[in-house]
Every structure is written in structure tokens, then in C-alpha cells.
Subunit: 354 residues, 4 copies
């Protein structure tokens, strides 16, 4: 992917989130939330306008609340933006600006998202290495089966996260520059793509939603991989979260709650329904959809934010996981056969490093 | 339903929303958004604490951002709230406070939501009355079929909205006061219910989620009924939105976009996935769920806000709808047979008034 | 609900299912499957035709495979059916026949479905009574909290199932007789309703889908309540399934798998997505939808079958549940305080009996 | 992908479907249905057993109904299968057999599925070529905008289908051979993979569900691309379905219904909810999930069948589409500017041929 020559680096900084502060610790942990907030969206739209030849502008100079109010009369925030800065909007349509901004938002948000997910996989890899010989009672259908290696469980987490991250990285984030009905000269798209560090599509994709829906799907896979880790932790009395001061219960002082695992699951449980919305939104009418397109904006924002939060929480969870190997061994009995566990862990670590 | 003796009336006022300002005109129109914002949630939690005998407190005196940050260490905003005001928290658990606050939020948000939906139905009723003899070409499978009455179409919209509103009103909003594991003395629940104007359940419902999921389903039905109206408007060249200054296209001055209908659909299209999340969240483990419960908070908030926005937009749409009866008649031909349309409209209006 | 004067009683009998035989033990247990199979659908359509004044016919005399093949040319099985028996089809449209047949299918399928769900609740009630003083360690966020009563857990299951069954029973199953575009004389609907034991709606509901979507939602609530029971059983080593010969593992002879609980969950996990499809299908265009309506037929069939199977499995699960009270007590310690558990169980049983 | 050296070629033949015959014309068109039916599933399981060194067996020699009944006692059809043919089951677990069979089913079903989808794209490409200069009024938000080229619309359909098919082809269909808890010697997996023409995974993926969920997502993208084509056809009075004898209305002889487009949509509308189920099923507990895994079997079967049916219907739709170019031109006015349409069509056709 080419370099993002505009102000992308700012987007992961201190740009305000636009979600709940009350529930933000749960649903909006990590760097993704700022990268998909209102200011980041406005900046992305301004960056697209600039890449089209307009004057570079900064989102912090815009009154976003007022812009949002005016947007209601157009079912699009681009129309009032274009009115405000007529010189910066050389013939681009709302759809060109918003679709390309969505891809730019995704590109920027995926940096912290994949960083956290990658660190989670890395931490799982360290657990796999360290606990390759640590026996744990394998459980199938939630009943004791035969022993396995804790390191192999962790290697399974790592491999799943890696595979899902690969799917996320493969989503072709491309500009969309079709003009009013999709027949705009493709050299414009090529030029904007170069300036923004996005791919150039074969055709304008104004009503071909394989890209945004494919992004949603890849995020869904990653969320699923992260949720599996968290579920395993909640189900094991011998895995404990290791961040001091966290997870205390007000009513029951003896209790330590699996806060990070619960937070991962609070995010990942919300993902499948959002992916379904993105897939249902693919049925877009003729040259611009009446409803399905506009439903995407909030949905993709939520998908990025929630998957990003799940990744940040999962990283925190796995990096600090405490293993009670003594209790695990006691539950298993002496010197269990761990089969090909160690060999499998080696295979997994090797694939991870590639 | 008993009177809400606490500060509920404030909740529909100027309490800050906690959603995107940029997309708020689309997704957060009307009075519901403020009633489900961060400040409204904190106020609802404080009201539950007060109903338990604590000192009455006001959300505006709380630093919500700080509360949210501390909440992350507990997967619950109640723990830091209780720490801050230890006297106000006489033995209630996080789940008691949050579940009951969720019901209070719903009760308060349903006031503007049902007001807007009711006004939309009322406006559809006026169209039904006025256009009972206005012929329009009926279209089945999106192909011309035989003529029908535009008033009958509008009567169908009204009846569907009415039926869905009835489903929303029937959801039994009740306190949840089970204590740590659900075996708390039911007189506490009875007393809190009385003070908050909520129903008293047979049992604590900490892991029986028929109530929140049932609320989600009823909102899903209402969103579906509203989306159908908007879809019909987008599909008819003879129905136009009548708010001056709205719907102009920057690129194509001759064009008038169906902004309100598109905005309704932008909201309603996001609902089915959210309802699926609430239904999937019913599988809650033992005495308190690890993930499924915490996934509900943001989801029910989004469901209320989006359905509320759809209702506000639908009211606006139907109240200002302009009918080109001349063009409709031209498409139909002279003096079509409208069958039992007028009689059916009378039946519908009579049922509406009951 | 009025009596079904036609051949409904046959529908729960030996009519062939139309789902997988291989996976049918899992997804199609109990009496619902036959009541929603191909033959039941055809019989329901024939019964509607008969209620319209046609000659009574029997599904077993129809070649359903051939009918299905011809249906492909019309996106409706009613057209070839009407061609075959022209006398039996006095002016009804495909939509009238299919919508009303869908309600008849639902009415018939709900008999075994509610019977199984009711028996599951009844069995949970017996557990509540028997184990009102049996202590069990309460678990919140899947960590040990404080003791509670196993009977109270079971009472919670019972109450949730009862509440969901009530929601299912309240769905207003009504005929739909609108004619080609929804303006048919309502006396026809009244007469058909009387003959079929269905309710009479205010208006034809050809594109007002509150009824089918509301049915889907109620089934979703019931599935959620059943899934919670099964989840709890899988999570407790002290609850065992008690059907001899079931749950043995081929590879590990010492193991007893929670087959019934797993089967309940295999069904209930499939429900939320199906409900989302029904809600998304409410956006039906003008006088007959192009796609959304036709998507309902298979979806509502699956919803009934899977919820019915979950109910049959849950009944089997709860009726044969074995409780290891000794191990439970050992995990808790002597004479725990069970709070208001017994009083709450009495309240729940009293409400159940009402 | 390596050659499938076993009996895969039979699977697309006359093996019985296991879905509704009544609605099969709608939901089960084309070759996929037989490739995912009961007999195909049993054959796939037998083929996996044979690849493990067992005796080759044929599904047609098995009483599937009886097998299904016995499967209910084990929440798995593999246990009774293994009992029946003890020699053919050398230590493989239910999960190994079913997971690998699922991949084999997918591999075989994707042959007719991608064949139909490819033919649909090919037909769209022919339309793009033929109608590159055919003007049509572009419609945005379902209102007339400015003219565009019908060929460009068709090129957009083709490109979306191509991109989605590429996503389907990229799903790594691999064997799963973990043994009871996932630590089986990987040389077994390698050998089975070779024999079945499937990929060899890094690790057993018994509870890493990126593969089946990724397959579901890719099918979701393809369904979305196909649904968009069908939606466009339903919305244009100038596009007609050209299969003689199809689409006649019993009640209204003048009417021609868009049967193929409606049938595509009847299938594609059911997909997003099913994908959500597969994504939610990724949260699989420890070494074998209790419920989430078993929910996948029917869901992936439905996803393949419905997407396959949509592809078969879309092929039929596009191959026979009739264009009323005269009426289109009349709606547009003389000699409209079609911008870069022709150049874009060339780009699209070139990319299609690669």
C-alpha cells in the first residue's frame, strides 16, 4: 500500500471519539476509537477534497455539531461542507467523498487495530513457547476429555488471530470516484488514489459494495478469533487476569472478576449483527442507494471501534495472563501424554513468524 | 404504569447525547437521543440508587469521562459510582443498578419515541381520510398491477405503525433487584418499583433476559413498520417530500432527493442486526453473564436511538408528504374501480381511534 | 382462539418433514417438524382454498415435487396449484393463500411447540420445588460468588420459559385476504377466519408484516429462554443428563456428553439470525414485495422447526436432569444462607400456575 | 488446489437434496443443492474415513434416516456411522470427520456455484459490450439524475460478481485432523489432505473457526453482489426477463412478473442472518464447543444452497435479459453525454478476462 501523503498520521492522535464516554472504557478502548470519531471522519473528507485539488483544511477548524445539523437536510454531511468551502469541492459528489473517506478512515483505524491484534497474537505466541509442556485437562463439550498442552491452546489462539489479521490486511481499500452516476474519467480516481495512498479500483464502486462489506467480514473474523480467547479464559479457573487493582468486586472482596475477558466479549458479541447489516446493505439500488448506503456509515464506524476495542482488551488480557500450572497439573494427574503438542507448537510459531 | 416520581422528566430535556454529532442528524433525530445519552444513563443509575434509599444526586455533577475511565477496571460503571458515593449504594449490585437503570432509560425514551411514532400514524390517518378516493396504480413485485386507493396505502402504513406501537407499549418494564446472585428479599424490588414507576417482576431477572430482548423485538417491529412507509415513498415518483429547502442536490439543481425517507431507511436498516445481538445475548450464564450482559448496554442504547430517529424522521416525512394526484390518475386511467378501499379505510380509522 | 374446523389435527401427525434426515435428530426433534413440512404447507394452502369455498383436497394426493418444479416459473407454488384445481381457487391471489397458510402452519405448529415448552417449564418447576433448599455455589462472570439455591435457578428457568411462551401465545394469527392489491371486501376475510379458526385483521396485511415478524420475535424470545437453561447445564459439572445410553463418547468411554443441552444450543444459536431476516423482510414494497416476502417462507419454517426442536430437547433435558446435591454442598460449605430463595420460589410457582 | 481423488465428481450428480421440494424451485435451484444434501454429507464423511485408511463405502448403501435417528443420542452422526463400520474409523473423532467433510462439501458445492456465478458475470459482460452506448437515465436515491450507459451498469454487476467470486475462491479449504483435543500428529492431516485434494492447515482448527466463518463471509459477499443485480432489474421497467412462459400472473393476464429477479432476492435476503450465525459461532469453548459447532452444520449447508440457488437464478436472469433500448432513450432525450462510460467498460472487461 502506498504512503498516505496527507494528514493521516494525525488521525490516530487525539482526535475526539464520538461515542459514549460512560461505556467507552468497555466499547472504545485503544487507538481505534479516535481514528473513527467525528473529527477523524471530517478530516478524512477534507483530505479527499484536498486530494481532488482543493485547499487543505483542518477538521479542528470546523464546527462539527453545526455541520451535522445542516447535514440532516441533505442526508449527507458533504453538501454543507461543500457549501462552506466551495473552492475545495471541484465537482466531486457526496458519494465520492464519503466512500473514499470511509476507506481512508479504515486505513488509518487499521493501524492501531492491527497493532493491538498483532501484539495479542505475539503474547499468545510467548505463552505457547513457555507452556508447551504445561499439561491442562482438555475439555470437549465442556466436559473433561484427555490432557493437552496449555501452550497448544495458546498456539491455537495465536494462529486464529494471525489468520484473521491476514484477512483484514487483504481487504482492498480503494478510492471511489464515480461522479454523479459512476461514469467519471478514471484518471481522477488514479490521481486521488496516489495522493491518499489507497488502491485504484477497476471501476467506481458506488453501488458495488464488496469492499465495505468485505472489510466488515474481515473484522468479523478477527472479532470471532478474539472472542474465542476470551471465552476460554472465562471458562478456566486456572487462568487469571494479572493486572493489579482490576477486577475487584465491591460486594464480594474475595472475588476477582475476569474484566478484560468480559470486555472482549462485550465487544465481540456485538459484531455479527453489525456484519449482517453491512451484508444486507449490499443490495444498493441503481446508481446510488436510498437507505442502504447511508446505513453503512455508522455501522462501519461501530465495527471498527468495537473490533479495535476487542483487540486492545485482548492484548491486555493475553499479555498479563497468569497461569496456575500447579493446579492444572493436579487436575490432570502425573506425566500425561501430550501427543504431538510440541511439534504442533513449533509449526504454529514458524507460521506466525513468516 | 405508575408515575415516575424521580427526575425522569429531565431526561428528555437537554441531557447530552453520546453519539456522533456528524451523523447525528441522520441517526439521532428527535427526543430519544438525549434520553439515552451518557448523562441520561448516569441519571438513571443515580435515580435507582436514590430509590434504594440513597441520597438524590444529579448526573450533571458527575465527571462522566472520568467515571467511564474508572469503569474499565470493573467492566461496570456502577463500581466507581458506588465508590464515589458510598452512602448512596446500600448493598445493591452492579447488575441491579444497571438493569433497573436500563428499564428506566427505556421508559423515559419511549415517551418521545411513541409520541413521534403516534404522530406519524396520525398523519398517515389524515392521508387515508383525504385520499380515500385518490386512485393510484397498485404495484406488485414492482410491476403495475391494478389500481388501488392511495388512502388505503396510507391506512396500511397507519395500521402497521399502530400495531407495532402497541407491541412496544406492552413490553413489561420492571425493576431488577436480585442482589449478588438473585435471591434478594423481594420487598426491596417492590419498593424500588413503586418509587420509579416501574413494574415489579415475579423474580429477579438478572439472567432471564425476556424483558430487554422483548423490548428490542418490539422496537424492531416498529422500525420495520416505519421502513415500509419510507420504502414506498422512495418508490413513487408521485409522492414528494414537502419541506422547503430540503433535498436539493449540489451537483444536479433540478433534482429533489427524498431526504426524510432515506434517513428513515438509514436508521431502520440498522435495526435487525441489533435485535439479533439482543436475542443472542439471552444465553446468559448462571447468576451473571460474562460478556452477553455487557454487550446489551450499547446495543439497547443504539436500538432506542435509531428507532427514535426513524420515528422522528417518519413523522416529518408523512406530515409533509405531497401527493401529485393528477399524475397518479393519469397513470391509472379514468374512474378505476377501487373495490372495498373506502370501507377498509373506515375500519382502519376506527381501529386507530380506539 | 376459535376452533380449527378443517384438517389441522392431521398436521401434527405423520406428515413428512422437508428437512435433512441426517441432521434431523438435532434440528428437527419433536412434533413441530412434521407440522411445517412440505405436506403440511400444501395441506394448509388447500385448507385456505377450501375455506374460500373450494372443494376440500388432501395434500397426500398431490405430487409435491412436481408442484415445486412448476412453482419456479411463478415464484409461487399457488399458481400451479390453482391451475391444477381451477374450481378450488375462486379469485384468491398467491399472497392471500400463502399468507393465510403461513398463519395456519404457525397455529398448528405452535400446538406441539408450546406443549414441549410448557412441559419443560413444568419440569423446571418440579426441580424448583424439590431443590428449594439445595445449596449451589452461585457463579457470576463465571467465577464463584456466594451460594444460592439450585431450586431458585430452576425457578428462573421456568419463569423465563413461561414469559416467552406467553409472548408466543399472544401473537395475533390472522387471515390475510387482500386480493391482488389489498382492497378486497373484508367479509371474505371474516368468513375465512371463522372457518379456519384464525383471527380477522383490521386490514389485509399483505405488506404490513408485523404479524409474521412478531411471530419470529416471540419464537426468538422462547429460544433465548431455552438456550439459557442449556448453557447453565453445560457449565455445571454437578448437573448431568439422565437418559440411559445417551451421551457416550466413542473415543473416551469414561466421558458423558451433555447431548440434550448441546442439541438445544445447536438449535437456539441459529435463531437470532433468522429473526433478523424476518425483521429485515418487513420493508415490503407497495402492494407486494419483490423478494422480501418470498424470503419469509423458508425462514419462518426454519424458525418454527428449530424452536420446536429446542423445546423438545429442553423438555427432555429438564425432565431427566440429575442433580449431584452432595458435590454441590461440598463446594459451598455447611449451611449457607440462601436468603429469600424459598420465598422467591413460592412466588414463581404461584405465577407459573396462574 | 489438488485434485479430489475420491468420489467428489459423484457429489454434483443426482444425490438427493435434503431441503423442501415445495420451495426448492426458489431456494434450491442449480447444482449446489444436491452437492450439500444428506447423501452428499454422508458420502463426504465416508470419503474422509476412507482417506484415513478405512474401506471405501458408498452413501447410497446407508440408511440415512436411521443414521439420523441414532445420531440424536450423540449430537453427532459420526458415532453411529463409526459403530456401523468399525474398521473404517481408525481413531478419528467426530470433529475430525465432520469438519473435514464440511470442507469437502464446500469444495464440491463450489464447483457448480462458481460455474453459475461465473456464467452470470460472463452474461453481464456481454451486456456491457453490447450496450456500451445504450443510454439509460441514471437514478440516484431512486430519483432521476443524469444519463449513463446501460453497459456500464452491467459492467458494474460483472465486476462485483467477479470480485466476490475471487473472495470465494480464496477461502482456504483445509482438512481438520486434531484428534480428541487437537494434538494429533500432523502427518495424518498431511496425508488426508493429499488424498482429498484439500489444503493442509498449520494447526488443527477444531475451535479456530476462521475457515468456516470465512467461507460464510465470502458467500455473503457473492450473495450481496447477485442481489444488487436483481434489485436493479426489479426497479427498471425497461429491463424484462426473457424466458417464455415464465412470470405470467394468474389473476392479471397483462402482467409479466420478474420471477428470476424475485427468486434471486428471496435467496440473497436470507444470507446476512446466516452469516451472522456463523460469525457468532466462532466463540467455541476450549477443545470442542458445546452448541456453537453443532449450529454450523445446518447453517453452512443453507448458506451454500441459497447462494448457489441465487447464482443459478442470476445466471438465468442475466442470460435472458431483454432491454427496451427505445424506451430508455426516450426517457433520456437525444444524444446524452455518457462520459467515460465506454473507457470504463473496457477496463472492466479487461479485468474480467484476467
Amino acid at each position: 500500500m502506498a504512503t498516505d501523503s496527507t494528514s493521516g498520521s494525525r488521525a490516530t492522535g487525539k482526535l475526539s471519539s464520538s461515542t459514549s464516554e460512560l461505556f467507552g472504557g468497555l466499547y472504545a478502548r485503544g487507538g481505534v476509537s479516535a481514528a473513527v470519531g467525528d473529527e477523524a471522519w471530517v478530516q478524512a473528507m477534507l483530505d479527499v477534497e484536498a486530494a481532488l485539488g482543493g485547499e487543505p483544511l483542518r477538521a479542528e477548524d470546523i464546527d462539527i455539531a453545526e455541520l451535522g445539523r445542516e447535514a440532516a437536510d441533505h442526508a449527507s454531511p458533504v453538501v454543507p461542507l461543500a457549501k462552506r468551502f466551495p473552492d475545495t469541492h471541484p465537482g466531486a459528489t457526496s458519494q465520492d467523498i464519503i466512500d473514499t473517506a470511509m476507506m481512508l478512515i479504515a486505513k488509518r483505524a487499521l493501524v492501531p487495530l492491527l497493532d493491538d491484534a498483532g501484539a495479542a497474537a505475539e503474547a499468545a505466541g510467548r505463552l505457547a513457547e513457555r507452556h508447551r509442556e504445561t499439561p491442562v485437562m482438555g475439555r470437549t463439550l465442556l466436559r473433561d476429555a484427555v490432557p493437552t498442552s496449555l501452550g497448544l491452546e495458546a498456539a491455537g489462539w495465536m494462529t486464529a488471530i494471525d489468520e484473521a489479521c491476514r484477512a483484514v490486511r487483504k481487504v482492498p481499500l480503494a478510492v471511489q470516484m464515480g461522479g454523479p452516476v459512476g461514469r467519471r474519467d478514471p484518471t481522477v480516481a488514479a490521481s486521488v488514489a496516489r495522493r491518499l495512498g489507497l488502491a485504484e479500483p477497476v471501476l467506481p464502486w458506488h453501488t458495488n459494495r464488496v469492499r465495505p462489506a468485505g472489510l466488515a467480514c474481515a473484522l468479523g473474523l478477527l472479532a470471532g478469533a478474539l472472542g474465542k480467547v476470551a471465552r476460554d479464559v472465562t471458562l478456566s479457573d486456572h487462568l487469571r487476569e494479572g493486572v493489579p487493582g482490576r477486577g475487584g468486586s465491591s460486594a464480594m472482596p474475595h472475588k476477582r472478576n475476569p474484566v478484560a475477558a468480559v470486555s472482549v466479549l462485550a465487544c465481540t458479541r456485538r459484531i455479527p449483527g453489525l456484519v449482517a447489516t453491512m451484508l444486507a446493505s449490499m443490495e444498493q439500488e441503481l446508481e446510488r442507494a436510498a437507505g442502504a448506503w447511508q446505513a453503512e456509515w455508522g455501522t462501519i464506524t461501530d465495527l471498527l471501534r468495537l473490533t479495535g476495542s476487542a483487540a486492545a482488551w485482548a492484548r491486555d488480557l493475553i499479555e498479563h495472563l497468569q497461569v496456575d500450572a500447579v493446579a492444572m497439573l493436579a487436575a490432570v494427574g502425573d506425566e500425561p501424554d501430550l501427543g504431538a503438542a510440541s511439534e504442533l507448537i513449533d509449526r504454529a510459531l514458524e507460521a506466525h513468524r513468516r
